[in-house]
Subunit: 163 residues, 2 copies
């Protein structure tokens, strides 16, 4: 658990410094990202919370992912990841949004995406970025690695873009 | 982590047997309940997901908790717990909703609620139950105990009421 704790602490400090707030939309990670961000007390100043959209109905109803996107590209896709990240930003009223959608295993999904395929979406007010990860390991390992990578990607963005 | 895993497995089996679905609204537990419910593969058949409402804005906007309730009783109250549980049930389109709102520490909240005070709300279509827990320990321990107790309370309800 130490790597996520360190990543969450570093990201929290960067958000605090830049006076930015964050929210997360989680599918395959199932709440682990939110759990890590709120391990630290005082998190509410920078972390608004998020949505665990484990079924498509929640992606559409709560996050506003378009049913056409889900139908055409599937839940595990760059398109859905991008809409989830923007959707959670809007729903939770935060400056930034991050999303995770992928296949934690133990089996491929119904569209044939391999275990370990995870899309991480990041939304700012004007831009959306999506990263495709190919992770290896069991279900726990894939979920943990996805969260660690998400923390890293957000931290890089904050550093590079001065967001 | 074993106690939560066992609790989540037992609850998942009971939900599956009764063909019921669940969603969670988490404040102090920050996503840990959702994480536990989705540790098991195939969770989407019974677990719709949930909302991590770490700030009041998300409780009101996403879960529909009334601003009057938040203002009058505070975020850590039986009233808010009940509205969160009903709200997440509605938002996520599940049969049952569970909520967690409390003080994980290390300090009392701004209304003077002691560290370890946690309200767990459970919502069915027609009823709302709220339990007040007084837990002891550090932040991690309080969050873990709250989740374990929530799993237990839901399982009891399913067994007793035949819900």
């Amino acid at each position: 658990m130490n790597e996520e704790r360190n990543g969450a602490a570093a990201l929290s400090a960067a958000l605090r410094e830049k006076k930015l707030t964050l929210a997360a939309a989680e599918s395959c990670t199932g709440g682990l990202f939110s759990k890590c961000m709120t391990d630290l007390s005082g998190a509410s100043e920078i972390y608004h919370g998020g949505v665990v959209s484990y079924v498509n109905e929640v992606k559409a109803r709560v996050l506003g992912v378009s049913p056409e996107t889900l139908d055409r590209f599937g839940a595990v896709s760059a398109e859905t990841a991008g809409e989830m990240a923007q959707g959670v930003r809007r729903a939770c009223g935060s400056d930034l949004g991050i999303s995770f959608t992928g296949v934690a295993g133990p089996r491929r999904d119904d569209r044939g995406n391999a275990v370990g395929t995870v899309y991480v979406g990041i939304a700012t007010e004007n831009e959306t970025y999506v990263n495709l990860l190919r992770l290896a390991g069991d279900r726990d390992t894939i979920r943990t690695l996805a969260v660690e990578k998400g923390l890293e990607l957000l931290l890089e963005l904050l550093r590079e873009k001065g967001e």
